[in-house]
Amino acid sequence: MSETEHKRTVVIPGETIVEGDNYLPGDGTEKQGKKIVAFRYGLAEESNKLVKVIPLSGVYQPRRGNIVIGKCNLITFNGWVIDIGTAENAFLPIMETPRFVSKDRLDEVMKIGDICVAQIFGMSGRGIDLTIKSRGLGRIDEGIVFKINSNKVPRVIGKEGSMIRIIRDYTNCDITVGQNGFIWIKGDKIEDELFAKRAILFITEKSFLDGLTERVEDWFKKNGGVKRENKKYEEKQEDNFEGERNDN
């Protein structure tokens, strides 16, 4: 993030953000003559002459490498069709499981209606291809699964996972955040799971504010959270996290 971070303002579609020769249109904007015009509702941000709109709402855009959480809708002869909330279904081929699965035992790995954590390893004309080969991926056995707006996911994860770490420290839960907005929380006690969910919903409400990490720590302290220093949970998602677009 550049030193000269400009104050973020809310813009609506069709609104001119800046006018001038040197500006470049980034995400959510279009160049019209000398004007950079927003086509999304969100926070306009300019840095090093690149102007973009950080959306506060809107549909998930799948990208290669994304961790996603989806539901199995169909089992074919060579894999599972997974709904991850995009127009096309995603497909998990039988070769992309960690252990060998014979073709007549597909439903032992995952049945229709089961939910899983997967990673997008390919996007072609045919659709989205998933894998569950890495650690931390696979069928979800228990816990709470709920959805937030996919645009708020970067704030829930935080810079290099900093926000997620705070939630884990205060709730002792395993938390997996799908880039498509679905979140899986698993803890020893249901109270902990619900505490983590409330924290995440708090973050989504304040997602556009600065200094969010401090606010969340304050929120935890105000709500009776106790920071646990001994990390008994596995750091299994760190290397798979996407980089952040916002700082704290």
């Binding site: 998930y60 539901k71 979800i140 699964v145 959805k147 907005g181």
Partner: protein
């Protein structure tokens, strides 16, 4: 936003809801027989003879009363008519398909109708204009605005509240026209509050006022229309079963809840 199917409460969360209930707890911290916060706004639609907005937590319904003059049924010829309709608007939930009324909205309309009709909350005889020729028809129309579970009970609260606010338009007997906007008198009501209260069964537990997630997990339900300990209408819905003991316990739960609901609604209606 995408993936309609995945939005129906996933089985993992359903498991958690059941597990939590075993400890007599719910996700939002409520007791099993506790209603969410109720907010009633009056006169939300000026051209209605009476109208309310009811918010039960995040669930929101609009209920409006309209009146018109028509011929009575031949039996009896001196009573006004009642018609209750419910519309599940597509704007209230991503799950609603477009098209003619599905079972849910028809069921809500009929259950609320029976509760109001059988309790005789409305003194229909006072709605007779000319015996055998002209009587008032009371239309109660229910619209869902946001569905976060328990539309039925919210609709019932709305119907009773809207009736309490309703006024009767003037009727020009010569021109045989209703003069909407000009009123004479209030809706003739008996002193009672026939709320519909639905008890849901999840595993071995009976709960009231489920959120959307909880309603998805509900195995069976029983709606009781009652006022001050007297039951006027009853309907069991969904498959699965209640034991006789569970039915008896449901009646106790409803009686207790009715008293609290009565207090909350009275407070809201000034």
């Amino acid at each position: 936003m995408g993936g309609d199917e995945i939005e129906i409460t996933p089985e993992v969360t359903a498991e958690r809801i059941r597990k939590y209930l075993e400890q007599e707890k719910r996700f939002d911290g409520r007791k099993l027989d506790e209603f969410r916060d109720i907010i009633i706004e009056e006169d939300v639609s000026k051209k209605a003879e009476g109208s309310v907005r009811v918010k039960l937590g995040k669930t929101e319904v609009l209920v409006g009363i309209k009146m018109d003059v028509a011929a009575p049924y031949p039996d009896p010829p001196n009573k006004g008519n009642l018609m209750v309709t419910a519309e599940f608007l597509p704007l209230s939930s991503s799950r609603i398909e477009l098209g003619p009324p599905k079972f849910d909205s028809i069921e809500v309309g009929r259950i609320i109708d029976r509760g109001i009709r059988e309790s005789k909350l409305i003194d229909l005889e006072k709605l007779c204009i000319i015996e055998g020729e002209k009587v008032w028809t009371v239309f109660i129309d229910i619209y869902t605005i946001n569905d976060d579970g328990n539309i039925l009970d919210a609709a019932g609260i709305g119907a009773v509240a809207a009736l309490k606010l309703a006024k009767i338009p003037k009727y020009d007997t010569e021109k045989k026209k209703v003069l909407y906007g000009e009123y004479e008198g209030k809706m003739p009501l008996r002193k009672m509050n026939p709320f519909a209260i639905t008890v849901h069964k999840i595993g071995k537990h009976l709960i009231l006022d489920p959120t959307r997630e909880e309603e998805d997990v509900s195995e069976t339900r029983i709606t009781v229309g009652s006022s001050d300990g007297v039951i006027y209408s009853l309907q069991k819905g969904n498959s699965s079963y209640f034991s006789v003991e569970e039915i008896e316990e449901s009646f106790k739960i409803v009686e207790k809840a009715w008293k609290e609901l009565f207090k909350k609604v009275e407070a809201q209606l000034k």
